[in-house]
């Protein structure tokens, strides 16, 4: 009898342990969000000169949008350095930041575009986040995410000049694009193998 009771208790404990894991997950995401914001303020300080441009550009004043862009740029730079782990961390930040965008002050058109890209960007961010050991897979998601980010920035505007850059060689010469905060080419698709492959297609201001 004692054994039966013991077994039941342990089974119940095991089950509630399962639930606990879920709770922890939720807290992790929460922490991630805070972390994301911290990173954001860090970027502000480091890059204060660029950020002050936000006001007269008029559109992307929204600091929550800057958080998304900064996280995206971190993914981009990590991929250019062939650093899958750093890309994963930043990918998770993109996923958290994109759903926390504050849409107050968005025009109808901006809101529409945001709603259109939100789920997709979040998903790509999560996939980049969960594939810290598969850089090729991260790059596939980064490609689609870059298209989403471009479409979003196109209507939302940007606080700092962005360079939409094209690499003709990636994906069996089908080519791919990305957004960069610098003119200098640092290819996130081919990484250190071919760091300077690419040409600027468009300047977004």
């Amino acid at each position: 009898m004692k054994t039966i009771i013991m077994a039941t208790v342990i089974a119940a404990a095991a089950l509630s342990a399962c639930n606990n894991t879920n709770d922890n997950k939720a807290t992790d995401t929460h922490n991630m969000a805070e972390h994301g914001n911290m990173m954001d303020s860090g970027m502000h300080n480091m890059d204060g000169k660029h950020m002050t441009g936000a006001d007269h550009m008029g559109m992307m004043k929204n600091s929550s949008m800057n958080t998304v862009m900064n996280a995206y740029l971190q993914v981009k730079n990590a991929l250019a350095n062939d650093d899958a782990k750093a890309a994963a961390t930043a990918g998770n930040e993109v996923a958290t930041a994109i759903i926390n965008v504050d849409v107050t002050g968005f025009t109808a058109e901006q809101k529409k575009m945001y709603n259109d890209v939100k789920a997709d960007i979040k998903e790509h961010g999560e996939h980049i986040g969960s594939n810290g050991d598969k850089i090729a897979h991260q790059r596939e998601h980064f490609e689609t995410m870059s298209k989403d980010m471009y479409d979003l920035v196109k209507v939302s505007g940007t606080s700092q000049t962005m360079y939409y850059t094209h690499c003709p060689m990636y994906n069996n010469n089908k080519g791919a694009n990305w957004l960069s905060e610098v003119k200098e080419i640092r290819n996130p698709y081919l990484g250190k193998k071919m760091p300077d492959c690419g040409t600027i297609k468009e300047e977004l201001k």
């Binding site: 039966i4 039941t8 789920a119 997709d120």
Partner: protein, 154 residues
Amino acid sequence: MRILKGTGLFLLVAVVVIQFFRPDRNINKGDFPGAISKQLPVPSDVMGLLKNACYDCHSNNTNYTWYVNTQPVAWFLSHHIRKGKRELNFDAFGTYTSRRQLSKLKSIAGSVKDGSMPLSSYTLMHREARLSYKEKDLIIGWALKTKDSLEAAK
């Protein structure tokens, strides 16, 4: 000897007890207006392959085999199915934004091509779900062609 007997009995009881904690099954009756076949052209050979190799985890209905009634196998599978459906549910394809549909078609082609799907843990138990090179090409070709035509229509 006595300890052995105790442990054996304990394990037996534990195995019996966990059988009572059954996860919900992924079985849903009904007509799904968002089903991919209602949204996009899916040739019957491709549809057959998708049903056979993907639908257990990526649709509203799983074709359960007997051993999934035992725990903890069922817990493990239920988790997988939930995760699979969240990533891609062919029965809800029409509810995705057009951007996400494109993205999903790209991922279908990509994951079949690199062999990450169907999962090897799944094909181990479901030998019939393994895809030959020809079958893979069929799915990849369909996914990419559909993606291109959706993009062109945009």
